[in-house]
């Protein structure tokens, strides 16, 4: 058991460090902070709202993740396939699960780092007023959890192809669908022909209803269960995809 963890950790370390071995990490972090800063201060007018909370920041995260998380995950497997290192990785004494867990947690940790680096916004709010610290911490925890769901989708699409661009686009489309599938124009597409239970099921897959409570600082056990189920499901499908298309 410890040996298994040791290998996941070795993969985690390599993958996490690899972000910083090229300019990718720095470009990503700067772009993330600029984008969220722009939306929080220029679009949502954090200062003018005169409310000491971070709603103005958190409501934008699902949209910023949509663009940036696929960029951070598109290389996870596609690059291993393209360069042939997947053959090296999977002929070392590891199980597929070790490799998937190591990579998933590395990308998730990287996104979490980006999220945590927005702390100056929290400090600003704390300096200007008296925000509820518990609420802000819950919002951060919930947002990181939601980011995990984005990462798991990105990892899945990356495993399907050796082209990072295809991985990026597929992941963006699936994430967009997950964000929008509770939205009326999308449910309308189903209403005309599908039974009500199907429409409800599709709508219930959406990230957004689970995010609404999180963005208010309420972390419900059902929301946690929802995001963890998405992550587990996507990791499971990734396992199947790689098992079947190792040398493709």
């Amino acid at each position: 058991m410890t040996a298994m963890c040791g290998k996941s950790i070795a993969i985690f370390k390599r993958e996490f460090k690899s972000y910083f071995e090229s300019p990718v990490a720095y470009v990503f972090l700067v772009a993330f902070l600029l984008l969220t800063g722009f939306f929080t201060f220029a679009v949502s007018h954090l200062y003018e709202r005169n409310v000491a909370d971070m709603q103005a920041f958190f409501i934008w995260t699902p949209w910023v993740f949509l663009l940036l998380v696929p960029a951070a995950t598109m290389g996870l497997w596609a690059e291993e396939r393209r360069s042939g290192t997947i053959e090296l990785l999977l002929t070392m004494p590891v199980t597929m699960l070790d490799a998937i867990l190591g990579k998933f947690f590395a990308a998730w940790a990287f996104i979490s780092l980006a999220i945590v680096l927005t702390f100056p916004t929290a400090l600003t709010v704390a300096y200007l007023g008296k925000p509820d610290v518990g609420v802000i911490l819950c919002q951060y925890a919930g947002t990181i959890l939601m980011a995990g769901a984005y990462v798991s989708i990105g990892m899945l699409t990356s495993s399907m192809t050796r082209s990072q661009v295809i991985g990026f686009i597929l992941s963006l489309v699936i994430c967009l669908l997950m964000v929008l599938c509770g939205w009326e124009p999308v449910t309308d597409l189903f209403v005309r022909w599908a039974p009500a239970t199907v429409v409800e099921f599709v709508a219930s897959l959406s990230f957004m209803p689970h995010f609404v409570s999180i963005s208010r600082g309420v972390v419900d056990i059902r929301d946690i269960a929802y995001y963890i189920s998405v992550i587990v499901f996507m990791a499971f499908v990734t396992h199947i995809v790689i098992e079947n298309r190792k040398s493709a």
């Binding site: 040791g6 993969i11 390599r14 360069s83 042939g84 090296l88 002929t91 070392m92 190792k246 040398s247």
Partner: protein, 242 residues
């Protein structure tokens, strides 16, 4: 030490490997010959646990690669075709990663990495990123990760492909240095290599073994006594027939 029995692989309707059986013992260097597309790489990928065989199996030091893949892979050092490696890492960082994947940590890890660097003559480039190295060095970096854990079985897919004569000589010297303590499989389509390093050779063509014997025995099958002629005689007819 390594026993392959009736291993076969289909990719859809294409039968890449049609049932190959052979054994390799300690102290042997088995040359794996065949024209391009004969199934050499596919066979090696099945033995190393990368591809699941359609039928048959390989038993590595008593561990069946289809039943107990992690334990089987632990016994093998593998140098894949084209020597893949993570190009953004330095040589030392890459070998440390390989050592950790083999379960070595702390000073034991560093000792293993240093020994492998020395054996593969990589001292001068150990802090360079792999992407900046020439093909010969990259080959040796990948070779270093294959021997780092001192595996009883070493499998190399075209280890000298694309190297200059000096580098080829170096790789062959390294293989010869280890030959007595390991069971080694080397795939190649360069026939001079068989004379240089192999104790036995298998020729495969169209996914089947067409010859298995010592280099001398194989040469004796042709009136000219040259390995090239044996190779052509055994593989060309089959390709045209197929």
């Amino acid at each position: 030490m390594l026993e392959v029995t009736g291993i076969a692989k289909n990719f859809g309707a294409i039968k890449a490997v049609k049932g190959i059986s052979f054994k390799v013992d300690k102290g042997e260097v088995l040359g794996f010959l065949g024209p391009n597309g004969a199934g050499k790489t596919t066979t090696m990928r099945m033995i190393t646990g990368f591809l699941p065989p359609t039928s048959g199996t390989a038993v590595v030091c008593g561990h069946d690669v289809t039943q107990d893949p992690v334990e089987a892979k632990r016994q093998i050092g593998y140098l894949p075709e084209n020597a893949p490696a993570y190009h953004s890492m330095t040589v030392t960082a890459f070998l440390c990663f390989a050592a950790e994947m083999r379960g070595y940590h702390g000073s034991e890890r560093d000792g293993r990495v240093d020994a492998a660097i020395e054996k593969c003559r990589l001292q001068t480039v150990r802090y360079q990123t792999i992407g900046t190295l020439s093909k010969g060095y990259r080959q040796r970096v990948c070779f270093a990760q294959a021997i780092l854990h001192d595996p009883p079985i070493l499998i190399m897919d075209e280890p000298t492909d694309g190297l200059d004569p000096n580098q080829k000589h170096l790789v062959r010297t390294m293989i010869n240095e280890m030959a007595s303590q390991k069971a080694i499989i080397v795939s190649t389509h360069i026939l001079e290599e068989v004379d240089a390093v192999c104790t036995r050779a298998i020729i495969i063509s169209n996914g089947l073994i067409v010859a298995n014997g010592t280099p001398a025995a194989l040469k004796a099958r042709s009136s000219t006594g040259r390995l090239d002629d044996v190779f052509r005689m055994l593989t060309i007819g089959r390709e045209e027939a197929a």
